[in-house]
Subunit: 477 residues, 2 copies
Amino acid sequence: MANDKKVEAITSMEEDFAQWYTDVVLKADLTGYTSVKGFMVLKPAGYAIWELIQKQLDERFKATGVENVYLPLMIPESLLEKEKDHVEGFAPEVAWVTYGGSNKLQERMCVRPTSETLFCDFYQKDITSYRDLPKVYNQWCSVVRWEKETRPFLRSREFLWQEGHTAHATAEEAQARTEQMLNVYADFCEEVLAIPMIKGQKTEKEKFAGAIATYTIEALMHDGKALQSGTSHNFGDGFAHAFGVQYTDKDNTLKFVHQTSWGVTTRLIGAVIMVHGDNNGLVLPPKVAPTQVMIIPIQQKKEGVLAAADQLEEKLSAVARVKVDRTDKSPGFKFAEQEMRGIPLRIEVGPRDLENGEAVVVRRDNGEKQTVKLDQLEELIPALLDTIQKDMLEKARAHRDAHTYPAENYEEFKDIIENRPGFIKAMWCGERACEDAIKEETGATARCMPFEQEHIADTCVYCGKPAKKMVYFGRAY
Amino acid sequence: MANDKKVEAITSMEEDFAQWYTDVVLKADLTGYTSVKGFMVLKPAGYAIWELIQKQLDERFKATGVENVYLPLMIPESLLEKEKDHVEGFAPEVAWVTYGGSNKLQERMCVRPTSETLFCDFYQKDITSYRDLPKVYNQWCSVVRWEKETRPFLRSREFLWQEGHTAHATAEEAQARTEQMLNVYADFCEEVLAIPMIKGQKTEKEKFAGAIATYTIEALMHDGKALQSGTSHNFGDGFAHAFGVQYTDKDNTLKFVHQTSWGVTTRLIGAVIMVHGDNNGLVLPPKVAPTQVMIIPIQQKKEGVLAAADQLEEKLSAVARVKVDRTDKSPGFKFAEQEMRGIPLRIEVGPRDLENGEAVVVRRDNGEKQTVKLDQLEELIPALLDTIQKDMLEKARAHRDAHTYPAENYEEFKDIIENRPGFIKAMWCGERACEDAIKEETGATARCMPFEQEHIADTCVYCGKPAKKMVYFGRAY
């Protein structure tokens, strides 16, 4: 059957990881093309993954008291400019609207690159008393950043995301919410996307424009590069001062609110591809697989085969997302297609299987085959999907741990970065100069100062002065 | 208790319907303000209604084979210009992006006012063979139209919607899909929003820019004005010719596809407000009520009252969307707030009720009160919500029917339009001149040529020539 596969066109990951990625994205039918340069198209197979991410993340948000809202797509220039650091961070990459119909706008507006300024403007009008707090709002939308180089899911001029924006009475509450949402993200990525995350704080250099602290979850891709997968920011009361967001407290004094924001994007789909994919294509964790089981009839023209496949689909639909491939393609072609699309399980049913009251079940993640009695499938399939979900997380964790290296000194650091792509754990003095030099000389950036600190050495890996923090470094997407 | 109500600030609908509408939208906390003129903010209570609309409509779409996708937010000017009628219809009201960061764009792009041109561009690249057809794609997104006068939900510079765009092998299939989606909309509005719809075809004058036929669902608001609530367009192969969207058929010849598009917007929320609302505020049909039952404790500081309310909430959460109002406001204030927000049922529980093992249940739609044994609530509440849903539809239908008037001649027509706001059923010769004159002289537009034709007279209501069609006329939002 192997010769019948139609996967020749896909580049192997070992040969050229970037080309492998592009091949998978296109051949698994996740994205398509339009004439709009640098903008992404999500085809049904890609958008359905995003829908599953949205649904499961939104449930987790709501369980913590988040409420969804929708704010305008456009931001007047004067609003964007109110917070100094923020405008410096974003102004170079926004798209400007200058005309409405044939009339030049009195004030130009940017298409939102992120909505801190809008939420502040809104909160300034909506919050008056301590009774109005906390506000724990979120919106699902798209944002625009005028990137020069783009890659599907990883970097594009428009991407889909959610952005949470909260306002609190106290600094402690804002800090607690910032950490809470980072944990929601990390748990979601582990439990749903089967991707283990390093949780930590960004350095001053890498933090968000306008934040007092940025927290991040960082994942390791199959090629040893890091991917920032979600961030959560504590703004303190900086934006509140800039926008005058105040409330009357119980003691009748006027106070500034403390704010946070946090977001994840369609980039998570890029992470799923690059953590779990293989040379046969995409491998989807069952919890975000739009189709979890593909039933493939063998010799489908023989009497009873298609009917049996249909019956099986109906029965199994109660326990999983199941489809039958009824096209007139060859079984081998169908196998290759199901593998390319990353569908976690396939069930092969042919005349001989049916005679024996059996079917062949094949796992996408490790290729394991088993012959199963038809009347046991209803029990087996959900259990097998659970097993796959767990095994994929463990495999990803093992890969990450095997590609995480401590570096005690700069020689080791440089050797690792050149020869063993992965995370580097190293000590840092806390000085921006060292961070800059490391980036300049090796291309590695400080991914985060992890919450789980370890002692690798006493001194900074670059300058040799006393170390303050253990940092994860890596080349990143 | 009535004196305790806090609804004084709301204008009565009889006094000033437009002001009543604005009051409800704000006091039911559906929308809020930002500094972005003409753009809408959906606050949690408003967005949650949209989420319920989305969920239930999306399920109905998917049951007919629709797949969701996402296409770019921006359209290069050259793409928008490819279909002549279409660009003429939309160019005057689009927002133009001219700069990306500090660089002037080589070609300006508009923020999508609708995505026919993008889907054509995409389909042109994605469709090659009859095997690729049909394409039945939809996207949930926002669109921008640079309106001069705006009103929340009814007309704003940005609104949320879904836009379906399909491509078919034959003209017959495209026509069938156009009608199918109109029926999905009409059924959804009746069954979920409790709003009866008139289904019909738009006149040439009122049809969509670029379509060969536009179908519409039209509803009657409480003030007797019509609201176009959803449209479905058949494009024939016009766009396909303009964009070169072709496929190789089974007979190996190259053919043009036939296309449709269809959409509904957040305007549906405006319809819900104006069909069902009353002088106490919003009245939500249970199926789109984010909270269906509000439990209001009476004398909540007395021992056992709040605990009983909490228990009730937990028990009833299995059968409905239930909340307890635990704030320290007075019961009368809570009643008024629950009514303003349109929550279909409230349950009052006080010490005396609890002693008797009872609670008082009050319907929002008609004010009916009943005392119910606590152990019967689990059965009663879902049944009562069903009843309310049905009663609200019947009430809306009765109102519409009572405000739909046949006009045999122009004198009658003018008399009705001045004195009895509602739909006018009248005969029409099919000439644009008569339609224009009626609009000019009375402000009434042809809402649609209904599928269910009636014979009102032999001659056109305006010119007296032989009539071709019965038309619904009305002043509209």
